[in-house]
Amino acid sequence: MSSIENNSDSVKTTSYKVVLPFYIYAALAFLTASIFVFLHSTDFNGHYFQPHLLAITHTMALGWATMIILGSCHQLVPVLIEGKLHSEGLAKATFIFAAIGIPLLVYAFYFFELNIVAIIGGSLIVFSILLFFINLSMSISKSKKENVHAAFIFTSSLWLLITVSLGLLLIYNFTHLILSKSSLQFLSLHAHIGIIGWFSLLVIGVSSRLIPMFLISKYNNSKLLWVIFVLINSALIIYILFYFSFLHSILTVASIALFLIAIFLFVKHIYASYIQRIRKKVDEQMQLSLLSILMLFFPIIISIILIAISLYFKTGSNKVVLLYGFMIFFGWLTAIILGMTFKTLPFIVWNKVYHNKASQGKTINPKDLFSSKIYKMMAFSYIISFLFFCLGLFLPLHLFLKVGAVILILTALLYNLNVFKILLHKTEK
């Protein structure tokens, strides 16, 4: 008889049964979104507030990015907060409600029927995120150590809850005017609470821990991360507080400036980790994740151009808004997910398949659970499709948009191929 004594709870991680459905859902949502992009590429030459573009944006933001982040959060929260996940049951419920709510919402946007279907879909999503927030709060409250990564993940999930709640309110406001202004006027607010509060805060909080960990870097600077945390939240709060003020444009510049400083400091943090790394070889997944950090500067530059246009020409630029949104969802977020999926998923599946078997002879390496060749093709096709689409939006040239969309489908297919290759892996006999 043998046993693991003391701190045995410290080796209990979240079950793969909780995490894997999120990855599967996200992979299929990415493929769906890329097909939508292909089918409706002409819509990208028009106004950004269009049914198909709303459907694509929400498939990408919720089905792709949020679902995979929620899945990996359930796995990584214990590492980040140094404590157990409060409830796997709540995590499963989070998945079920979001998995039903997202397609209902996307359907409602796609056919622009902002009726009961949209309300039900939106409500299910809000409920799902509320459960995630409760689960996370309980986990953090039980954790013995306070750390900056827990602050990032907690605050970002609070912003996510605010984003989806506001989104639901805006859907309701379309048909029953309950707000003093039309829903359209709140869109930028809704989008930026999500982009800055949820995505950027979460991605920065998680990658500031994971990237040094994967690089095996000695570098650690909690103070710098606290400064970044305060800067990003201040930027967002200023943006929200003065959203309807006459000072909005000027103070948005201040918000962007604070956010830009935060991003520079984050880049500094990652660069220091990279320089002080013990492991010299940086694998392809990490290369794409590092590239995604640089891709964050593109939408920031575009947002500065947008502000300049609105200040000097007293008008918005639809083309630049679309480019801005595309660079966030299909650029920065997609790049980091494409890289990080293959830094996390193979280990989750390896743990499932080879747990307890490594001592019974040589086992396959987790990184061999997916095809490196397919991964390289995926990364290459992704960069090409991104460039084509950005040029197609900027010039604007519909042919470039169509070619970019076809290559994006190829990227999504290659991604799915590798994800399912990992998921369907069985022990070699």
Partner: protein
Amino acid sequence: MDVETNNDFKCTMALGFLENVYDPEIGLNVVSLGLIYKIMFNEEKKQIDCTMTLTTQFCPMGESITSNVKNTVQENFKDYTVELILTFEPAWSYDFISEEGKEFLKR
């Protein structure tokens, strides 16, 4: 990092076996990584107390690594009962990696 023991010979044997247990993410074995702190042999009780750590608490690969360490020692010392003690005191640091391990990571 030196491994504390009360039986140098058997401890060296155990460490030799444990060199086949890898951290799958880092690609280094648990001995070179400096995860093994102590291997104590109780000849009266026929028990081996193996004290080890992980690179981080709640490491997603932690359960797999600890059970593989336990199984490896157990399979090679069949007359003994193995008790695996997981500790985070002291917390693992990069300085615990052996020189050979550091050379491997620099490649």
